[in-house]
Symmetry: none
Subunit: 195 residues, 4 copies
DNA sequence: CATGAATGAGAGTTCATTCAT
DNA sequence: TATGAATGAACTCTCATTCAT
């Protein structure tokens, strides 16, 4: 950071403000209703500048989804790791609950990332990133007595997160078949059985 | 059907051909790349005619997703009900496997309905429809010893189908984090634990 | 014509006014400086209407060049055929001179069709068109003693018109290497030698 | 050359590489599809640098057309002058044939200079250039018995080269009305008659 | 001299929707 | 009910040109 030239800092600011403007508009007005001209207007840069940093609207969107997805997971694991738990079960449920509560508070974000909170994608993109690895370690430690094959841990994490993401989207955004708070007890019961 | 006048039959044919054309185009070229002018061209009707039957592109899409979603579930339950099983577990896994195999064979359809294979939505739309009810009865019978509260069965069905839909989309369409055949054993193991 | 419906007449008028507007703008402002929005504005139709009749700017341009090219040739042959001549040589030079005088009077058109006054192209497009055929008959009659092979007449017409077009463009538009009136005597001398 | 400073050499290299990049791109992708950003990328210089050496895209294009046009003529006359001929006719046809063969081998170049192989323009730009003058001398010597007026030689050269250029473009690039090899005999016959 | 990020006008094109027939 | 020509706002994306470094 400190080794950036003035030009590089300026570039970074431009990209950041475009990214932030896109995020703001996507969540409040929807992707479909957001034009690139809206984004640049909000970011305070010229239209052409957008194309210096992103291929098109969906390029920013993909970046946002990936970043925010991992942010959600990292925040949840950090919340979890600062606490002490008696069992893996308790710890995992706390972790899951952190995710759910975050999504409940950020309904617009949830709408945006839709059901793209995918372990597969996040893991691939951030495979050496500390927060993401800690999620893996938590499961590895918690499931160490389960006589699992190579790669099974990844699959279990994937399935659980896929489940949580899907259920949250349905219950929080669509309120279908019911709201998330009514769904939580059953969901937790099921997760307990899984592990 | 037999009580329809010629005009009514004609109207129904128009709607059907628009629907069929939309389905064909959505699956092969994607929703984004399909314009209403493409749909009417393929259906062999005039542009204005489209608006006599549908509000807009997403109106047809919603109808397609709902129809096809329930079709998938109904076909799977029918497949299942013509067989005998020793246990609910066996029966349920056969039902799930029918869904998965169907989606494997119809990747384009899976892409289209995305992760919208939602029990909540299908149940609401077809709450008195035979096939859909039979799914409910299967679970009701299978879980009768579980001391469940009113509405819990719906929630369990919802969660399981949400899980299956999500995993199928990821593994079949994106092949992320792996292909569906490698994921199946773990997925089945987890479902066994759930019930 | 008389069998056209009101709608067809209206369509034809739209296309004609787009064509006329394009011609007017191309000749006065240049192709490069004429935008489709200029054309539709001048034609008094909506932008989208342009695309109902033409693929793009160059589609109209091609049609204009072809039409005008043949118009020039047809007008010249009609001028020629209403007169009597003692020899083919006299007749041909009169025909050529008609072309040259036309181009001199219509410098903007000459600029537009550039050096595209091509016998090859016009002949192909209008191979059954009366005026174009009369040009062929004139040469056929005039060269009947020349013991020519099949197809040689076409080639001679092609070469002579190619020559006339090129020289006109250079001398009239660019005044290079001199003006057309100074070039005419030599050009005519050369054409006389050719036949 | 040898008196250039390092800076001057460097400058010349920049201009040369821009020129070469433009030529390469114009011929392979077309003028319309070549942006200045493409040229500078290929030349390996910054965008602003282009404007230090050329006014715009058409400025380079004009230079290229002029250079290449004269190159074609000079190469043909040099080919011709190293041989002995019995007559001017033979010599001229050899010269013309050299041009045609060159253009046949360099179709992309021919496409680029279009029908701009103009004696008028080349003569003006290179009026004291050895190669160009030798073309003039060849005609002067060959036509010395023709009792021509001052300036007529220039006009005859102009007309013949205009003819050759036009015919080559049509026959080689467009293959219209036929290919160049079928056109050559007639073309040569006509040129023989002209002189 | 050289750079290349930034500009922003505007080109071309699409397409949902309307409405006279 | 059915048509399809016409609309024109809205869109994406390009690119020549500038200018601070």
């Amino acid at each position: 950071m400190k080794h950036m030239s003035k030009v590089e800092i300026n570039k970074r600011q431009k990209e950041d403000s475009l990214y932030a403007a896109a995020y703001e508009l996507f969540t409040t007005q929807g992707i479909h209703n957001t034009a690139i001209s809206d984004i640049v207007k909000k970011a305070g840069v010229a239209k052409g500048t957008f194309y210096l940093y992103f291929k098109d609207k969906y390029d920013v969107l993909d970046k946002i989804i990936l970043d925010k997805s991992s942010e959600i997971l990292v925040e949840a694991i950090e919340n979890t790791n600062i606490k002490e738990f008696d069992s893996f079960e308790e710890k995992l449920l706390y972790f899951i609950d952190s995710i759910i509560e975050y999504l409940k508070e950020n309904k617009l974000l949830l709408k945006l990332i839709y059901k793209n909170l995918s372990w597969g994608v996040v893991r691939k993109a951030y495979k050496d990133y500390k927060g993401i690895n800690e999620i893996y370690y938590m499961f590895e430690e918690g499931l160490k007595d389960h006589d699992l094959k190579e790669g099974d841990i990844e699959k279990i994490i994937f399935i659980i997160l896929e489940l949580v993401g899907s259920v949250c989207y349905s219950c929080i955004v669509l309120r279908e078949p019911t709201n998330i708070d009514e769904m939580k007890p059953i969901l937790f019961e099921i997760i307990k059985k899984i592990i």
